[in-house]
Amino acid sequence: MTTTVESGFSTESGSRRADRARLFAQPAAVVVIVAAVLIWAMTRDNDSIEQESLNWSTLLTKTWEHLLLTIGIAAIVVVIAVPLGMVLTRSWARPVAPVFLAIANIGQAAPALGVIVLFFLWTSWEGYWCAALPIAFYSLLPVLRNTIVGIDAVDPALTDAGRGIGMSGPGVLFRIEMPLAIPLILAGLRTSLVLAVGTATLAFFVNGGGLGELIDTGYKLNRTPVLIVGAVLAVGLALLIDWIGAVLEELLGPKGLS
C-alpha cells in the first residue's frame, strides 16, 4: 500500500508550497507582462504597415486561432494517446507496445517543422488540419508514454485484488488502473500542451493561422514591434496553458493518495 503510483507532485510540504505559490504567481506575471507589452505597442506611433497587424481585431483573431489550434491538438492527442496507452498495457498487447512507442518517439525526435512540411507535401492539404494533425503527432509521445507508465506503476496487488473480488477486466482498468494513472497522464498532457502551443507558431507555414503569422510578418517586413507582440503573446499563451495544466493536475487527481 505504500507506493502505488507516483503522483507527479513531490509530496514534501516545502515544494508543495512552492507549487501552490506558482499556481498564483504564474498567471499574474503573464497578465502583467502581456498587458505592459500591449500598452506599449498600441500607444506608440505605429506606421500603416504596423497598424495592419497591431490592432485589437487582428491580435484577437490570431490569438484565438492559436488557442483553437492548441485545443484541437490537445483533443487529438488525448483521443489517440490515452486509449492507445490503455490498449498497449493489456497483457495481450504488451509485445507491440515498443513498436508504438518507437513511432511516437520518431514523431517527437523529428523537427516539428519537418513533420508539418512533409505532411503538407504528402497530403497537399493546407490550413487548420494540415497544421493540427502533424503537430498532434509531434506532441503525442508524452501522453502515450505517461499513460503506459502510469498504468504500469499501479501496484499489481491492487489489480489482483480487483479481479479477486469479482471486477471484470475493463472494470479494473476504468475503476482502478486509470484513476491511479491520472496524475501521470495529466502531467504528460501538460507537457504535450506546452509542446503544442509552442509548435503551433509554425502553423502559418501551411496557412494554419496563429500567432506565428505576426512573428513572420514582423520579421519579413522588418517591423520589430509586430515581432515582439507576436512573440510575447505566444510565450504568454504557453505559460497560461502550462498553468491550466497545473490546475487540472491539482483538481483532477485521485483523492486519498497523499
Partner: protein, 392 residues
C-alpha cells in the same frame, strides 16, 4: 449468480453459512515448464471450517488457493464449491461470491473505507440503501467505528485497520467461502495476534468456509480447524487437525515444518477443563478452627491444606506445622501464588506449575475451587494424545 452458489443470509446464531469445497485431481502446469506447479491435488474442505494451507515458500499453496476462485485456471481436474462446478461458471461472477483477502489488504487507495467495502455489493447490483446499511454493519463487525472511519482513505489507516477493512470488504456480500492469502503477513506480531483473535471471533459467529494460506505454522495451529501441510508441487504431506499433526507428524518433512516444541504448541490447544483434575486435596473454609483442620490432615495423612473463603475461592496454602500456633485460618500459612481457571490452556497451567513448583489450584467460572492440576496429569495427557494419533 446466486442461482448457482447459494449465499445464505447473514446470521448471528452461529449456524454454518459456509459450503463445502472439493478439489479433485487438480493440476496446474505452466506453459514452458516441465514440472507442474500443482500436481494432482485432491482434498475436501468441509463447510464452515477454517482450513489452513501451510508450507514453505514456492510450494504452490497460493496457486492452489487461487485456483479455487480461478484467478489461476487449473490445467486439469475438478473444483466444486457447494456442489457447483466452479469451472463452468463465469469467473467474475464466481469471484463475487467468494470472499478474497490478501496480504497488505490490497485496498484501493483512491476509494474511501466505505467505498472499498461497497465494491462487491455494488458489482452485485444491490440498491444504495442496502449497500450503505451493509457497509455500516461490516464496519461494526470488524470493530471500526463507522462514524470515524467511513470517509477515510486507506493511507490514513494503520496496517491493522487496513487489514480489518480488507476482511470487511471480503465479507461484504456475505459469501459462503472466504479465501485469505497470508492476510496478516505484513503487520506487527501484536497486531497479528489481535487480528487472529478477531478472525476466530468472527468465524464463531459467521461459520464461513475459510481457506487460509500461510507459511507460519504457529498461525496455522492457532487458527485452523484442519491444516494441510503441503510439500513441493503442492502435494499434501498431511491433512489433519492441528492436534493430530502436532502429536504425530506424518513424516520427517512435516516434523521439520512443525518445528521444535511440538508438544509445547500442543499444550496451547488444550484447556484445563479437558483434563482430569485431582480433587483429593484437603480443603477447609476460613471459618473452621485450626485445630479441626489439623485433625483432618492427620486423619488423611496429608501435610498441606488449601484454605477457601466463604464463596469457596482459594486463598492460602497452610502446612500442618503452621496450624500448631495459628489462631485463625484467615492468617495461617502463606498466600496463594498462581492459580488457573478451567478456561486456561494447558500451557498456562504448565507455566503456573513451574512457578509454583507443583500442583496449582483450578477455579471455575465464578472463581470457585474446582480441583488441582498436577504435572503428572499434563504429561499423561500429552502421552495419551500421542498414542491415540499413532494408533489412528
Amino acid at each position: 449468480m446466486s442461482e448457482t452458489i447459494e449465499t445464505t443470509a447473514n446470521t448471528t446464531s452461529g449456524a454454518v453459512s459456509g459450503v463445502e469445497i472439493q478439489l479433485e485431481h487438480v493440476t496446474k502446469r505452466y506453459a514452458g515448464s516441465r514440472e507442474p506447479a500443482v500436481d494432482d491435488v485432491t482434498m475436501t474442505i468441509p463447510a464452515g471450517k477454517i482450513v489452513i494451507l501451510v508450507g514453505p515458500s514456492g510450494c504452490g499453496k497460493t496457486t492452489t488457493m487461487r485456483m479455487i476462485n480461478r484467478l489461476i485456471e487449473p490445467t486439469s481436474g475438478k473444483i466444486t464449491i457447494g456442489g457447483e462446478d466452479a469451472l463452468s461458471l463465469n469467473p467474475d461472477r464466481l469471484r463475487r461470491n467468494v470472499g478474497y483477502a490478501i496480504q497488505q489488504a490490497g485496498l484501493f487507495p483512491h476509494f474511501t473505507v466505505a467505498q472499498n467495502i461497497a465494491v462487491v455489493p455494488g458489482l452485485l447490483g444491490w440498491d444504495k440503501k442496502k449497500i450503505d446499511d451493509r457497509v455500516e454493519e461490516m464496519m461494526d463487525l470488524v470493530g471500526l467505528d463507522p462514524k470515524q472511519f467511513h470517509s477515510r482513505y486507506p493511507r490514513q489507516l494503520s496496517g491493522g485497520q487496513q487489514q480489518r477493512v480488507g476482511v470487511a470488504r471480503a465479507l461484504a456480500a456475505d459469501p459462503p467461502v472466504l479465501l485469505m492469502d497470508e492476510p496478516f503477513g505484513a503487520v506487527d506480531p501484536i497486531t497479528r495476534g489481535n487480528l487472529q483473535d478477531e478472525l476466530l471471533r468472527l468465524q464463531s459467529e459467521l461459520r464461513k468456509t475459510i481457506v487460509f494460506v500461510t507459511h507460519d505454522f504457529d498461525e496455522a495451529v492457532k487458527l485452523g480447524d484442519k491444516i494441510a501441510v503441503l510439500g513441493p508441487k503442492s502435494t499434501i504431506l498431511q491433512y489433519d487437525t492441528p492436534d493430530a499433526i502436532l502429536a504425530n507428524p506424518a513424516d520427517d518433512t512435516v516434523a521439520g515444518f512443525v518445528g521444535a516444541g511440538a508438544s509445547l504448541k500442543q499444550l496451547t490447544l488444550l484447556r484445563v477443563r479437558d483434563v482430569e483434575l485431582r480433587t483429593d486435596t484437603v480443603t477447609a473454609t476460613v471459618s473452621e478452627s485450626p485445630a479441626d483442620l489439623r485433625q483432618k490432615l492427620t486423619d488423611k495423612r496429608a501435610t498441606y491444606a488449601l484454605i477457601l473463603d466463604e464463596r469457596r475461592r482459594p486463598t492460602r496454602w497452610v502446612h500442618v506445622r503452621d496450624l500448631v500456633a495459628a489462631s485463625s485460618l484467615a492468617t495461617a500459612g502463606k498466600p496463594l501464588g498462581d492459580l488457573v481457571s478451567l478456561q486456561s490452556t494447558l500451557q498456562d497451567a504448565l507455566e503456573a506449575m513451574l512457578v509454583e513448583g507443583g500442583g496449582v489450584p483450578v477455579t471455575g467460572s465464578r472463581g470457585e475451587y474446582a480441583g488441582m492440576i498436577e504435572l503428572d496429569t499434563v504429561m499423561a495427557t500429552i502421552q495419551r494424545l500421542r498414542e491415540e494419533h499413532t494408533e489412528s
